[in-house]
Amino acid sequence: METHMTQEPHIARVFDRDLEAVQAIIMKMGGLVEDAILGASEALTARDEELAAKVRKNDAQIDALEDQVNTEAARVLALRAPAAGDLRTVLTVMKISANLERIGDYAKNMGKRTGVLAQMPAVDGTDGSLRRMAKAVQLMLKDVLDAYISRDAELAEDVRQRDREVDQMYNAIFREYLTHMLEDPRNITPCMHLHFIAKNIERMGDHVTSIAEQVIYLVTGEFPDEDRPKEDSTSFAGVDGTP
């Protein structure tokens, strides 16, 4: 485990091992969640039900790791009374694991909907934008995990800003689906599922952003100001799809 330690080791070495162990679980979770996003996206594009089922099944592993993080974090809090950077490490692993677990759930839900969509005729030209959006979120997740392990607040801030691109992609997809549904009512069922998938991916981006904020707090001791531009305007969209 190559956790980047900003400082010399603790006098009690076992404390270092405890903190490194819990952070290793986070990295393992992160890897599984990245795989889940890519897998869910690929399963959707290829209408691969087997892969979609695998994504759904693998979510249990992510959930189990989250439990493990919580147990370990509670242990460290009770036994070590961590302070300063150590305290922020424990607080952030708990939140980050919760965010990762939620992202895993969204991927699992994509897998479920893929199973349904595979039974229906495809809606032309809708998969490409979802795939690009999922890829963008997966890259954000990869970068935020790198930022976490290297204690890089700048990279975390970069990830945080990139969420607006995901929001913009979601807005575009939202309008596209409205158009498809208006054109042909037979598109409504698949487009509803596809829309939930798009919304799931957009929410994944929000959770990655939340992880980025945790990384910034971990490194600097302060949460970033709430000046992040939000681009998801669909909450205000009218029936003509023009917010």
Partner: protein, 265 residues
Amino acid sequence: MNDMRPLERMVNTDNIKISARNCHVFYGDTQAIKDVNVDIEDHTVTAFIGPSGCGKSTFLRCLNRMNDTIDICRVKGTFLIDGADIYDKSVDPVQLRAKVGMVFQKPNPFPKSIYDNVAYGPKIHGMARTKAELDEIVERSLRRGAIWNEVKDRLHAPGTGLSGGQQQRLCIARAVATNPEVLLMDEPCSALDPIATAQVEELIDELRAQFTVVIVTHSMQQAARVSQKTAFFHLGNLVEFGETGQIFTSPQDPRTESYITGRIG
């Protein structure tokens, strides 16, 4: 959640009780305190933390001129209490110590009765004219020391017969009997068990309403529990001084971080 807690924790920063400027302390050729500047607020518990030999006790002892009693010790700098220089020639150290009380690491009751332990200070400072007045001071002090209920039926038993935790609370009662304004505590709980420690910590929190409390402690958790302000000393320097919650979650100096997270001794 109790919404009152943040308010309760808030410190009135307007009122500086003790102000130390450019303070240096030497033991012979060794410099124990190097240019320390600090403002300690009224009705606040301020904790001094730091590894052994960092100067925290030495600095504490400057505040009631206890270092005067050490021949080779030289103190330089300005120490003001309520704006008055406590090292001024006109200041009587004995009177100063009535105003700035002290509680030590080991409970050290006089080999006298519980009553006499507390009555001693008020008597020599002529604070009571009658026996009734003295009785009242003794009772009030023992109540402030949170030990009245345990000793009210045996005020004439020897103070040394009490348990360690009771002895320490007796010493706190003795220290507050002269109506001090500042209470200095040098490791007041290091010889006590966890229950007695909790009782003394609870007492410290109550004492804050009436006194300015400065406590030296090796237990960082104790500093975190009882104080509103924390000062970290290292090698004679005051490295960092700030709100306790901030020091323990986001210290600004890497040396503070290393110490409170158990990386340097």
